[in-house]
């Protein structure tokens, strides 16, 4: 398939998906109990006057018929306008533009660390004895079973309080991101390693690995030329999910390590029922997910062009 048509199709699908997410959220928000105008005015506790509520309704077009509201909403989205935060009274896009870099930085670093740990774990487990493998499985499973918030707390107490090696909160230096990123990475690496080890083992025992050995390749060469690629593929496939999972994790990790970011904004938005903010973040993470999926597909096509062209015939 031509690269342009491929891209056009993928982008088309992504736009469709975003539209669906936006619509789903629009419908969902209409079901939320309580008066949105009240939420705008700071929740039921604020006891805003009737006039103030009316003004808010006017300002946020809450008096229009649903269809009109939907149209306005889509129109706004199409121009990149995500609305105004009820709680912060600032454009959602602006808030996200401030928060997103921190979260993306955290997620990306965590992803890299997770990949690295997973690969090392898989490589060690794949090459060791039966007992080593069982130990490997158990370590992977435990890594995947550790809740972020607990891990974060443990890492702080060990590396920050006891050993004093690493800061507990972001200090603006690269050191500050180590603990949060590792916290986010470890459970993820558990999942990835489980996946990678299976395919690594399969690849290392496959006929083509034997063929490589038969033509004189060393174990190391077999490992890097064949095992690594095959292990990377399924894990790569999971990257979309992994990014989504990291954003979930970021909600907790940002809270624990007092880092700004969309995870923490989301928590705040949910607590204050700041629906435009919630909508914006949901849409954004869907967008990120889709961008990641696109990139992943491109990388996959690079590693495995045959599969990208529609599999073996």
């Amino acid at each position: 398939m031509h690269i342009i048509t491929w891209l056009a199709r993928r982008v088309g699908a992504a736009v469709l998906l975003l539209w669906l997410v936006a619509t789903a959220i629009f419908i969902a928000i209409r079901f939320i109990p309580g008066d949105p105008a009240e939420a705008i005015m700071g929740g039921p506790g604020s006891q805003a006057s009737a006039e103030a509520l009316e003004a808010a309704r006017e300002q946020y077009h809450l008096n229009e018929p649903l269809v009109v509201q939907y149209g306005l909403y889509l129109g706004q989205l199409a121009t990149g306008d995500l609305g105004t935060s009820y709680a912060q009274h600032r454009p959602v896009a602006q808030v996200m533009a401030e928060m997103l870099p921190a979260t993306l930085q955290l997620t990306l670093i965590a992803l890299v660390i997770a990949w690295f740990i997973a690969f090392v774990m898989a490589a060690i487990a794949a090459r060791s004895s039966k007992i080593g493998q069982t130990m490997g499985t158990i370590i992977e499973v435990i890594a995947a079973a550790v809740p972020h918030f607990w891990l974060g707390a443990m890492l702080i107490i060990i590396f920050s309080t006891w050993l004093g090696w690493l800061p507990a909160v972001d200090t603006g230096t690269m050191q500050g991101i180590i603990l949060p990123a590792v916290t986010l990475a470890i459970p993820l690496s558990g999942f990835l390693a489980q996946l990678m080890r299976d395919s690594l083992l399969t690849a290392m025992n496959s006929p083509f690995a034997l063929a490589a050995r038969a033509r004189g390749a060393s174990e190391g060469q077999v490992f890097f030329r064949h095992g690594f690629r095959h292990a990377a593929l399924p894990a790569l496939n999971l990257t979309g999910w992994a990014v989504a999972a990291s954003i979930s994790g970021a909600v907790v990790v940002e809270e624990v390590f007092a880092r700004p970011g969309i995870g923490r904004s989301l928590l705040g938005a949910v607590l204050s029922r700041d629906m435009p903010m919630v909508t914006g973040i949901a849409l954004f993470s869907a967008l990120i997910y889709m961008v990641v999926m696109l990139v992943v597909e491109a990388i996959e096509a690079f590693i495995n062009p045959a599969a990208a062209r529609g599999g073996d015939q």
């Binding site: 039921p44 006891q47 912060q88 600032r90 624990v256």
Partner: protein, 527 residues
């Protein structure tokens, strides 16, 4: 018995140095608005203390003294307060401080659009501000108010530039303009608020020890670290210099860790549980007393607060000179509690061992605001829940976010509540226990959560506020406190806790504003 508070005041060592940015880590919720007129909660007071100043303040002896005001005078009838401002003070925006500002600020507080609650109550009685000359204004009151100067010493009534107040609410929230030693430079939401030194600062009073009037610190980075453990870890590793909302356990271990501790109990009301007397079962004083007998306040506080919070048996903070305390009223006696409940007619029991009367269960609902209640306090309530359960109460704790908590109070859907209230001076008693406070303020808040409705008490409270005789005032307030305490409307716990920990390189800590918020004007970093 309760322990004593252990407070290690910072002692300046050596010559103060200029320079350095102090990193402050706050555990409070991020303020919606940096202008404390808007709403008016304690976190706003804490931060605005650094960049706003008040007309009056409190000295070390707890007396109210002028600050931005040079002097003040009260008319014979108590209905006119004449305030004269100190000359030569300018706002951060360069405009001079004039009597116009007093008028603009009072009007701003009274404007419903400002959505002020604390400040609004403080200037409730001011009917009109009359400008006499550039530096003098007359405040005309609807009724005498001997607490007005105390009220004007609180940062919720701090004086801001009239030009700034004229801006959009939102804009003023982001960059309030005052006269303080620091100014608001920028606000990175959810992360930090950056304050920088006000290079044109003029200290309103004489201070012989200062070479110039400028703060030592280049600025303050006001970080938001809601997690207590993380905050303390950051302090321990030196990433931040000062933390607030210090947990009792960390305060206790701070001494060994070479960390300074500032205990600055808030003025006004003590931290207490109010028993909603407007509805069953607490409309019966016997049941109120039974509840108070059932729970172990002292034991709980001792364990949870590690002797950092002395028990209070008073309605008012221990820093209030007119506070009245009665130790004989508050103790635990389970047998007595059971007898009282029997006497009140709650004699049957259901299968969960909850007492019943006429088919009604002895249920208590306690909404707890997670934003306003520290974990140790929530644990204390949990203990009360278990102990009250032993005598047959079914006490439910509902953890709510602030707005839901307000909503629950607004719907009168509570039997017990702990609502902190900070105000300088004993006049807080009128706000908290006058029957008119059952009516909600424009912001929706009503302060008389115990719903005390005693005409005689109302009269005493009004009189106490209007009298010009200090001795009479003290006597009236003592009577009022006795009435509320002896009828068991309230279970006092401890002073409103306000603990700060700071690293060893922070020097000069200890000064605080009238509302007990630490000031950093004289603080310097020993680098």
């Amino acid at each position: 018995g309760c322990g004593d508070s252990g407070s290690t005041q910072g002692e300046a060592s050596g010559e103060p140095q200029s320079g350095g940015t102090l990193i402050y880590a706050s555990g409070d919720a991020e303020p919606d608005c940096l202008d404390p007129h808007y709403g008016g909660n304690y976190p706003q007071g804490l931060i605005s203390t650094q960049y706003l100043e008040t007309l009056f303040t409190k000295n070390e002896d707890g007396e109210t003294v002028p600050w931005l005001a040079e002097s003040s005078e009260v008319s014979q009838d108590g209905l006119t307060h004449t305030i004269t401002l100190t000359d030569g003070i300018t706002f951060h925006d360069g405009t001079p401080l004039t009597s116009e500002a007093i008028k603009a600020n009072v009007e701003h507080l009274q404007d419903p659009d400002t959505a002020s609650s604390t400040g609004y109550l403080a200037v409730q009685k001011v009917q009109e501000v009359e400008i006499v000359d550039d530096l003098t204004a007359d405040l005309h009151l609807s009724a005498p108010d001997n607490a007005l100067e105390e009220s004007l010493s609180m940062h919720w009534t701090a004086i801001q530039s009239p030009a700034a107040l004229a801006r959009e609410v939102q804009e003023n929230c982001e960059s309030p303009v005052g006269t303080g030693p620091f100014t608001v430079d920028s606000w990175d939401r959810e992360q930090q608020i950056n304050l920088v030194r006000n290079e044109d600062y003029v200290l309103p009073v004489e201070d012989s020890e200062r070479e110039n009037d400028l703060a030592y610190l280049d600025g303050i980075t006001w970080r938001l670290i809601p997690e207590a453990a993380t905050r303390y870890a950051a302090l321990q590793s030196g990433e931040v210099h000062v933390i607030d909302n210090a947990q009792p356990d960390t305060i206790q271990s701070a001494d060994n860790a070479n960390i300074g501790h500032l205990d600055s109990p808030r003025p006004g009301a003590s931290n207490r549980i109010e028993l909603n007397s407007s509805q069953a079962p607490f409309n019966d004083p016997l049941v109120r007393e039974a509840f108070i007998r059932a729970v172990d306040v002292d034991g709980g506080i001792q364990a949870l607060f590690f002797d950092t919070a002395p028990c209070s048996h008073s309605l008012l903070s221990s820093v209030e000179p007119l506070g009245y305390s009665d130790d004989s009223l508050f103790y635990r006696d389970v047998d007595e509690a059971n007898d009282l409940l029997d006497e009140a007619g709650w004699t049957e029991r259901d299968e969960d061992n909850v007492r019943m009367k006429d088919g009604e269960r002895l249920e208590l609902i306690m909404p707890v605001s997670t934003n306003q209640s520290v974990p140790a306090e929530q644990s204390l309530f949990e203990q009360f829940q278990a102990q009250a359960g032993e005598v047959g109460f079914d006490m439910q704790i509902n953890l709510l976010d602030l707005s839901s908590w307000y909503a629950a109070l607004g719907e009168h859907n509570y039997n017990l509540v702990s609502a902190p209230y900070t105000k300088v001076g004993p006049s807080v008693l009128r706000i908290l226990y006058h029957s008119s406070s059952i009516e909600p303020a424009p912001s929706g808040y009503f302060a008389n959560n115990a719903q005390v409705d005693i005409p005689e008490l109302d009269e005493i409270l009004v009189q106490a506020e209007e009298t010009t005789d200090d001795a009479e005032r003290a006597d009236l307030y003592e009577q009022a406190q006795q009435m509320v305490l002896e009828d068991f409307y309230v279970l006092p716990l401890y002073d409103q806790q306000n603990h700060f920990l700071y690293t060893a390189d922070v020097q000069g800590m200890g000064e605080a504003s009238a509302i007990a918020a630490p000031e950093y004007y004289n603080v310097w970093l020993n680098q």
